[in-house]
């Protein structure tokens, strides 16, 4: 049943997205062509291509995010909910289907961002790109970061999805529950503001507690991640030592409490949303 629900969600996404994404792709191809055009005496045209291309990528991501959120709302809380909630599936299957199908969209977003920006950058750099390749600058950056750091960055990008899903599913489901649905869309706004204030509070508390997760920008410097009994620094630390700049020892601190809360929030949100779906009240 879960697979069928995921297939149903993907069908919706495909229907909602193929036209806008196709238009974005065409504009992006045009932008890449413009960005790579070096026949003009100045670089205005190429620069414009790069800007339009970047904006197109942002618009495409905007469409995807909108589709994800709008689909969640429509499928559960609009007239479509009369079909969704009467399909022979459990509330948890319905929720998991949304989470998993949305993850596919998240992967597509990441692909569009990285591949689109790569092509745009490559086109706008023109012949300079070959020089960069010849000097192996990318390899140098990779060597500096190391593969564990690359995996960490990829992990954070993937982690962004459940975090985002938790935020919007909780906002919609709690904002339209029995108590708050009398405010209409205002209920959703109340939950969003509540979440924001609670996050601010957690971040404030976390910044005062001497417990941080220290992530070294160069993973070969001591360890990549370390739990330290210090309050998180405001910006990148460890750059200077005795007046000498040591970029290899640079690190960023994340308040441990805030970090753990982001995990706990996902779990709590999932449980709350599941409870709301179990006792749905479609007006």
């Amino acid at each position: 049943m879960l697979a069928k629900l995921i297939a149903l969600d993907l069908r919706f996404y495909r229907k909602m997205l193929w036209k806008p994404l196709l238009i974005c792709l065409m504009v992006l191809i045009g932008s890449i062509a413009a960005a790579s055009n070096t026949s003009f005496p100045d670089k205005t045209f190429a620069g414009l291509g790069f800007v339009v291309g970047t904006l197109t990528i942002l618009v495409a991501i905007g469409f995807i995010v909108f589709t994800m959120v709008a689909h969640y709302y429509r499928h559960f809380y609009s007239a479509q909910g009369y079909l969704t909630h009467t399909l022979p599936a459990t509330p948890s299957q319905r929720l998991w289907a949304k989470l998993i199908s949305g993850f596919f969209l998240h992967l597509i977003s990441l692909f569009i961002i990285f591949f689109g920006l790569y092509l745009l950058t490559r086109a706008s750099l023109g012949p300079f790109y070959s020089q960069l390749r010849a000097t192996s600058i990318v390899q140098t950056v990779l060597d500096y970061l190391g593969w564990p750091a690359v995996f960490l960055i990829v992990g954070l990008m993937l982690f962004a999805y459940p975090s985002f899903f938790a935020a919007y599913s909780l906002s919609i489901s709690l904002g339209l529950n029995k108590r708050l649905q009398r405010f209409g869309g205002g209920g959703i706004a109340i939950v969003i503001v509540g979440q924001y204030l609670f996050n601010m509070f957690i971040n404030f508390v976390s910044s005062k507690i001497p417990l941080s997760l220290r992530i070294y920008l160069n993973p070969r410097w001591y360890k990549m991640i370390q739990l330290v009994t210090e309050r998180p620094v405001d910006s990148v630390g460890g750059m200077m030592e005795g007046g000498v700049m040591i970029p290899a020892s640079a690190y960023v601190d994340i308040g441990f409490v805030a970090f753990m809360f982001s995990f706990v929030f996902i779990v709590i949100s999932f449980l709350l949303v599941h409870r709301e779906l179990k006792r749905i009240n479609l007006r």
């Binding site: 069928k4 429509r74 007239a79 909910g81 009467t86 022979p88 029995k178 009398r182 479609l282």
Partner: protein, 238 residues
Amino acid sequence: MNKLIELTNVSKSYGSARGVLDLSFQIEEGQITGLLGPNGCGKTTLIKLIMGLLQPDKGEILLDGRAPRESLHLVSYLPEKTYLWESITMREAFEIFRNFYPDFSEEKARHILTEFQIEEEAPLRNMSKGMQEKAQLSLVMGRECLLYILDEPMGGVDPLSRETILREILQNYHPGSAMLLSTHLVSEVESIFERVLFMDEGRILKDIDVEKVRQEENMSIDAYFRKIYKNKEVRHVG
């Protein structure tokens, strides 16, 4: 007889607004029951409670002896709203129903759609409100299940179409199943009912055996309906 729907002291309110009050009744298999009453009397609320789309403030609802959520596969439900989306074609809707309901007969649904003269490839947005209702009805009646729950199946259609809809409901209703049909258009549908629940102000005014009323009162259900709502002889059975 197996009890397919069982309500015990079910109440539901929307804040200060009334929904349904202390309802208790049972519907057994093989029974076609009409849920009649004026607009706003609580018919749709009651059906949504049975389908698990609303949660009761108090009381218990059982579908085939289990919580509504656990028995959804047994029920074919036609809501008062259009739950299909604008861009969907009926061919796609058939595919979705085939995927989710093993008891869905595409052949039967296609036949009903043909009777309604609706094209399978036309998107829903190109259909009138009445055609959309008929299209949804073809999906609902295309299933062969234990219980059909139809909420105002003729609400937005012309009198001629009502006849067609009624004929299709009767022809495609699976024998042995139960049906709960809500409507405020009593005269058009009264011929199909074996039992009628009259609702008013969230309560059940009367729970009657249709044949008995016809014989004893010597009047149609429509006339009886008018009589009881005129006199408001409230005898709550719920």
